[in-house]
């Protein structure tokens, strides 16, 4: 029953820094997802928590215990690997029970725990088989079962679903959510798939280049991305980013121009002055066709999905934006179009890439 604390955690490979000082608090029972592009350090961070990678600097605490120099086996963690890492020469039963056997758990206790885990994962009929005889989804279950029987304080998942096909991935995702609910355990989950992150997490940690970009609930990240990276990474299709500048500032409002477009935003306490370079962020779903809309351009591509229509528009400023429109509208490729949006849905990012709060808080 333990949470997890990371303090100024650093990892260098030789001279190359891969984790550049991560601070993080994870409460007991939380489902935390590390997400980011490949090479961002999310797996490395997970492996440092597991004890599979040295910690160059900083401190990792599981519960109240500093575990920097504790062997992986003594950290009270269990891990599910991307490749599942099942022992090919052992049956499912022995795979699941290997850790208990090494710990010297009496045979009858062991047997009960293995069978309990198998029941939870609905794989009692697989216990006599070997990994080679199992499908991808079944192997996944065994790998999870191996983690469950050890009753760890913290479960670690390293891209566990990436080797499954799409349909199975959705099933396993739901199953993992159920498992988290049933076990009430702390889980840390690494993925590059933002949909997995959004659906599973209590708390998402977005990493890029070895630096935490933002920590928050899925909706926090979606609604108030802390910077351009998070804005571009969370949400599908990606948020449209359009460069522009501040034209006028009044106590209550801001006028933004981007090429020929110009519009007012309600804004207070932002500290922007006229002439400041900014980046506008507008989610594709926030755009709509509006003949009087301020974003004018040419239709480049139309994708009819039935329930909605995705169009790509080349704006006069030379930026391409994506709009997801409700229903099955008809748009001629190459034809002119004007897009409008609700000013409240606009995100503003400063020249440094960080979010500019517009509500004054």
């Amino acid at each position: 029953m333990a949470g997890l604390t990371l303090r100024s955690v650093i990892k260098n490979y030789g001279e190359v820094p891969v984790i550049k000082g991560v601070d993080l608090d994870i409460a007991h029972g939380e489902f935390v997802v590390f997400v980011g592009p490949s090479g961002c350090g999310k797996s490395t961070l997970l492996r440092m928590i597991a004890g599979l990678e040295d910690i160059t600097g900083g401190e990792v605490k599981i519960g109240d215990r500093v575990v920097n120099d504790v062997e992986p086996r003594d950290r009270g963690v269990a891990m599910v690997f991307q490749s599942y890492a099942l022992y090919p020469h052992m049956t499912v039963y022995d795979n699941v029970g290997f850790g208990l056997k090494l710990a010297g758990t009496p045979k009858d206790v062991r047997d009960k725990k293995i069978r309990d885990a198998a029941k939870v994962l609905q794989m009692e009929h697989l216990l006599d088989r070997r990994p080679a005889q199992l499908s991808g989804g079944q192997r996944q279950r065994v790998a999870i079962g191996r983690a469950i029987v050890r009753q760890p304080d913290v479960f670690l998942f390293d891209e566990p679903l990436s080797n499954l096909d799409a349909a199975l991935r959705v099933d396993m995702r739901m199953e993992l959510a159920r498992l988290h609910h049933d076990l009430n355990a702390t889980m840390i989950y690494v993925t590059h798939d933002q949909v997995e992150a959004m659906t599973l997490a209590d708390k998402i940690v977005v990493l890029n280049g070895g630096v935490v970009q933002q920590v928050g609930s899925p909706l926090d990240l979606y609604n108030t991305p802390a910077n351009l990276f998070v804005a571009g990474f969370i949400g599908s299709p990606r948020m449209n980013l359009i460069s522009g500048s501040v034209a006028e500032v009044t106590p209550e409002r801001l006028r933004i121009v981007s090429g020929p477009s110009s519009f007012w935003l309600e804004a207070r306490g932002h500290g922007l002055a006229p002439g400041a370079e900014i980046t506008l962020g507008i989610r594709p779903h926030a755009l709509s066709v509006d003949p009087s809309g301020t974003l004018a351009g040419k239709v480049q591509l139309v994708e009819q999905l039935g329930n909605e229509t995705v169009i790509r528009v080349l704006l006069a400023v030379g930026t391409e934006v994506t709009a997801v429109l409700a229903g099955q509208g008809v748009h001629a490729v190459g034809g002119p179009i004007a897009l409008g949006f609700d000013a409240a849905a606009v995100h503003l990012f400063g020249a440094d890439g960080n979010r500019i709060a517009l509500s004054g808080d």
């Binding site: 004890g51 086996r73 890492a85 022992y87 290997f98 850790g99």
Partner: protein
């Protein structure tokens, strides 16, 4: 694929020719072994009255039972230990892959091309200093050392192919390095260990230079070494020599025929990797 037919015929012809060439020496020996004692037989000529008794006499003259025992003892002394320590070292070196430790591996690999003749003279003095001359240990101990380059090379290559994830999973499951090695790595390495055992068995059984130099008494030698002595002693009695040679060959050939698949696989991989 139509044009393949004449080629296949040609290939079959060639292969059958090769097989005949391979087998002829054995047949020629067999025909000579069955010739009456004291005669000087012809190359390949089925004797009118096959003297199967020659084999019995050769068995007694060559003291086949003692020879077999001696060879088995030597093999038992060499192969299990060599395989065990080569497997351990192969695993250790597969974990020490950083450039800083590459030299250890390179030192082992250097031994792959080393002709035994290059070290046989000092080995003689070393074995003599250890007081082991003319004992089976004079063959056993040096062979273990001489097999290390190949053994370590072979097992390391295997362990490099085992996913690192398994090691990590075992670590998280609470295995010490040693337990991981015994319970996870060794069972997985069984095919590689099997092939290595077969090769080392063959090389030991057939080892000639070491017995000739280090052990005078044929009864303390390997089969091949004993065969050399047998030829020295009975070289002029062709029927007896041929019968004795065939007898001495019989155990290996028998084993080979039984485990044909494993032997062939081991020899092919052994050549490729060596």
């Amino acid at each position: 694929m139509k044009t393949a037919t004449p080629n296949t015929l040609l290939a079959r012809g060639l292969i059958i020719l090769l097989m005949v060439v391979t087998l002829l020496p054995f047949l020629s020996m067999l025909s000579a072994a069955l010739a009456p004692q004291g005669t000087y037989p012809n190359g390949l000529q089925w004797p009118e009255d096959p003297q199967w008794g020659n084999f019995i006499r050769a068995f007694e003259v060559a003291k086949m039972d003692q020879l077999l025992l001696s060879s088995v003892l030597i093999v038992l002394g060499v192969v299990p230990i060599s395989v065990a320590i080569a497997t351990m070292a192969g695993y250790g070196l597969a974990k020490l892959t950083s450039a800083k430790y590459k030299w250890v591996y390179l030192v082992f690999v250097f031994g792959l091309t080393l002709p035994f003749e290059a070290v046989i003279t000092p080995l003689y003095y070393e074995v003599r200093a250890l007081g082991l001359l003319n004992t089976r240990f004079a063959i056993i101990l040096p062979l273990i050392g001489l097999y290390m380059p190949f053994g370590v090379y072979w097992m390391r290559a295997h362990f490099l192919n085992v996913p690192q994830d398994l090691t990590e999973a075992a670590q998280l499951d609470g295995a010490t390095r040693w337990k991981e090695f015994l319970l996870v790595q060794v069972p997985l390495a069984r095919p590689a260990i099997m092939s290595l055992s077969i090769l080392l068995f063959l090389w030991t059984w057939n080892q000639f230079l070491l017995p000739v130099v280090l052990v005078q008494d044929p009864m303390q030698r390997t089969m091949a070494g004993a065969l050399g002595a047998f030829q020295g002693q009975w070289g002029t009695d062709i029927p007896l020599l041929c019968a004795g040679s065939l007898l001495i060959l019989a155990p290996t050939i028998l084993l080979f025929l039984i485990f044909q698949r494993q032997f062939v696989a081991a020899l092919m991989q052994g050549a490729v990797k060596g």
